[in-house]
Subunit: 343 residues, 4 copies
Amino acid sequence: MSLINVGVIGYGYWGPNLVRNFIALSDTEVLAVSDCRIECLNQVLAHYPYISVTTKFEDLLQNSKIDAIVIATPASTHFSLALAALQAGKHVLVSKPLASSSHQAFQLIEEADRRNLVLMVDHTFIYSGAVCKIRELINNKKLGNIHYYDSVRINLGLFQPDVNVIWDLAVHDLAIINYVLPYQPVAVSLLGMSHTSSSHENIAYLTLLFDTNLIAHIHVNWLAPMKIRRTLICGDEKMIVYDDLETSSKVKIYDQGIILTNKTDNTDKMVVDYRRGDVFSPKLDLTEPLYLEIQHFIDCIKNNKMPITNAKTGLQVISILEGANQSIREEGKLIKLKESKMG
Amino acid sequence: MSLINVGVIGYGYWGPNLVRNFIALSDTEVLAVSDCRIECLNQVLAHYPYISVTTKFEDLLQNSKIDAIVIATPASTHFSLALAALQAGKHVLVSKPLASSSHQAFQLIEEADRRNLVLMVDHTFIYSGAVCKIRELINNKKLGNIHYYDSVRINLGLFQPDVNVIWDLAVHDLAIINYVLPYQPVAVSLLGMSHTSSSHENIAYLTLLFDTNLIAHIHVNWLAPMKIRRTLICGDEKMIVYDDLETSSKVKIYDQGIILTNKTDNTDKMVVDYRRGDVFSPKLDLTEPLYLEIQHFIDCIKNNKMPITNAKTGLQVISILEGANQSIREEGKLIKLKESKMG
Amino acid sequence: MSLINVGVIGYGYWGPNLVRNFIALSDTEVLAVSDCRIECLNQVLAHYPYISVTTKFEDLLQNSKIDAIVIATPASTHFSLALAALQAGKHVLVSKPLASSSHQAFQLIEEADRRNLVLMVDHTFIYSGAVCKIRELINNKKLGNIHYYDSVRINLGLFQPDVNVIWDLAVHDLAIINYVLPYQPVAVSLLGMSHTSSSHENIAYLTLLFDTNLIAHIHVNWLAPMKIRRTLICGDEKMIVYDDLETSSKVKIYDQGIILTNKTDNTDKMVVDYRRGDVFSPKLDLTEPLYLEIQHFIDCIKNNKMPITNAKTGLQVISILEGANQSIREEGKLIKLKESKMG
Amino acid sequence: MSLINVGVIGYGYWGPNLVRNFIALSDTEVLAVSDCRIECLNQVLAHYPYISVTTKFEDLLQNSKIDAIVIATPASTHFSLALAALQAGKHVLVSKPLASSSHQAFQLIEEADRRNLVLMVDHTFIYSGAVCKIRELINNKKLGNIHYYDSVRINLGLFQPDVNVIWDLAVHDLAIINYVLPYQPVAVSLLGMSHTSSSHENIAYLTLLFDTNLIAHIHVNWLAPMKIRRTLICGDEKMIVYDDLETSSKVKIYDQGIILTNKTDNTDKMVVDYRRGDVFSPKLDLTEPLYLEIQHFIDCIKNNKMPITNAKTGLQVISILEGANQSIREEGKLIKLKESKMG
């Protein structure tokens, strides 16, 4: 199995990026693309006339030459397509979120396990130089105790037809939190609002609590005047600013913080002093994250490995999203998160 | 009463700015400053040797030449000092927040009313060119229906000894919301965290709901790697970015948004399209807001006027802060706000 | 001639962008690509297996199905390739600069005229929404009298093997100046430096004088710590900042300037006052400039039109570059520019 | 002489900053301020009623209690006022530029030497944390060989009545170059333009050449849409961006550059490769530079020391300005700089 043959379902916003990167890999070939929209298939043909196209995804599943199915369709279809692909004996890379419920995610995990197939979620940011560097810094205790994680991920568009802004955008932050922080959240609160006739929130504020005095907060928004992709991660020794829109210096490490001392007047009161130091912006691997991700996907298939962004991490993210759904139905009430049974 | 004589209580961080601006006004004189810290009084003398100084604020209240008392002390002392000053027959300008509870605020309002004295809260931002322009834009319906108000007010320091970051920083946003939005919030939720041995939160996320589908959110933080002072105000016709750290172009108006149409295929589904247009940054009055504020204070004294930032607006802000206090005690539960009885 | 068949010579940095855009046009087809480097041809095949490739550009010239030749090779080869293509009866789109001397440019112009072929220079910026808007503003006298044009175009790389940074980067600014300003420069001065063993300057400062009191200055640099693409255009009524790295708001119009009055004390001295007003950022056409450019190229071929960036504008740019070459040889001496004989 | 008594001539734009800082020093006292404008003296009295004021600077020179004279008047008066002050036996701190010609500067140096008085130029930037850090980096060879120094110092205003923008703004850069670079310039070229009825240029481009392959370039401009204060200093090992408008991270050190190798194909051609690494922003001393400067002035008086920004450095700056004056009269011709006879 030296050459992996791939079929891609969905050629809308993200599909073209997937196809482009699979083509750039030397040991994969994109045999076929399916999409229910003829105009999208015409786009495939305009650029890659040698790729087969079809309006029926079933054609891909039935194609015995295809080893792996890549799913880049609306979120509500992920589960059924991924399940069908696994049942057809294909390895699967599915766009985020993995499924629409943790129950569905469990089913997919079981199906992949039973058939010994690779099931990977496309949490692209996990493969970026910036997020890898942040994980390394936190793992090496460079930040000290983590105090908070604060992310703002906003811009104008793209309103999704079948999920709210949390399931579309906050899922990125939840995957990053899952990957870089050494703790799992224990409770979630969500408040948000829809400004269309749809019931899907287009602005939302999600808060996560942990067993330590760590707080995480995510602001996601499809209706913002400007694009912001900025995360602050604060430890008691160092603080990180991760601005994904910066072309260079995406990650800045601030060697600053507070110094707490007791007052000398026996009043037991605390004095807060401030420490300001250097700012350091490490060199990052600038390879396109999606390229590294699909390289890893192919490697997992060839060598029967568990992907970094495996289905269990996808499930952990969905569990939080489900808690968030419940919270917003109960006016932002703090919802306890159960430990994933798969943990 | 052509010359108003002023006494200032508190000469720490904010007091020097107040004294400097009162001195710049032609129709006021700063007669005396009190502070319990000798080193602060020495600062007064170094710059203004002709101003009387004292460690006892009572000296200022008993000085019959003093017409108005300006209070720039820690928040927990505002109520008792303001009450004493009113009882001594002085007009009062008090730093934000007006008091530590709505009950206290009521008492101050009654005392000022009974004695026909001016009682004004130092909500400085209300007098800035940026906030005045934003109010004008909203009043003139330039934004259309307001969808959300989102503020980030973060930096490293200054930890306050007697209040949390909400009572210190979010109070600015609450005063601005009160001034520029045509609605009063009906519910509040607060989550936050302390990272010191103190019980006062140094990071907090406050959400306000209204009777319309407007949501307001405020992120305040004393432990941030960088300083941000940015507010997004989104209407269905235009969107504002107000960045107080910009030296020019503090207010930018984006003529953009979404266009909602129904699908033509009888499915009743909605299509979201995007509208992008010009960006406009209006010229702003750049006069120092504090200067305009104390000018207004003196004008209210001389002409027996009600200040813009009067004690009732101070009370409205405190009512929200009290709701927020209750919310955080109940794990971020959404707390209904009672209509102010004074409304 | 409804479908224009194109051959592309050179598939290095810029060639792939040309091919991609020609493919996106419905009425053109890319029949063949030539490059002397096998690895570049392999890149073509990887993405477009249906395009013919060859290491010999002569194959393209001899291919009678090819209507137009696009040249994207190093600058020193532009003249001979363009001449050969014209002589083979092909329409030509040649990368900037058009040729290595004005003498060569004349020859190309004559050859194209004689054969009634389209000869167009790839001055891509001329087709950008930003530059078009700036031209419109200046044409409509929105800026008043133009005082200066100041451009900084710097970054790390890409060192060209056969031209200096002026012939590589300043050529963009000279094309823009030629297009947006209502005047032609009358003199040029150039100072610069090489920091490699090559004689080609990698940093240079070019100044242009005009018959009016307008001054233009261009800083180009291949050895800069950060990327800057910013042009200031100042008139006595309004000023423009054009920052090509901004994703939105590339063009900002500042309604500000100075007000000159004579002193009232009969001393004949001038008082300078400052006027600050609104800042306005107009909506721009965001279509990829290269797409609009090649669309225009095809339109010129089909309808026998003179291109906007025709060979005479290419010649005007080269005349200035030649003056600049002379200036730097004479230690930055101001060199008078002759009026182009073709004017 | 434990307390140094100071008299300040000129209370326009810069004078108030000088007075404020002298007052903040414990071992100095501002005895008197002179200015020919009554409204300026009223400003002094409004803030510092205990300082004597006068419209005649001679009063200060004749006041035997005054040890040191600080001159903050228009540039054309610096020489005569400084000379008179020295002749009256006073130590002198004079605003930049030291004088209007090198001849005048020589006279001042001789007068101060003869009388053993401190004569210091107010080149404020030399005392900033940023410039000190840059000097330290260059002295410690952190940048390698210096390739270029490029400064942009532009904004709207303040047009000076008696000097051009070079003598007003470029003087800062010349002082910094003199302080941080290990070489003296050997030639200067200047081109610029006036856009008022005055003959003083309001926009200018100054280029300096050195004995090594180092080039320095300064763009100064009183008529710019935006304020920029940015200097690039490029060495073959590291590059610096110094942005004085940044509130934090004023100095950034980029560990990047080019790598030159010869082609392996025996053609003797050079291949340029690029090296990109970390970016580092060192902690800087944030003390107000003017405070450190006058502290140093007082220290020099008390301990009979030679100031860092002594009159000879002031003379070196003026020599370049004179060369620049000559260059612009000769259309930007490169003017050789004589070595200062005082060197």
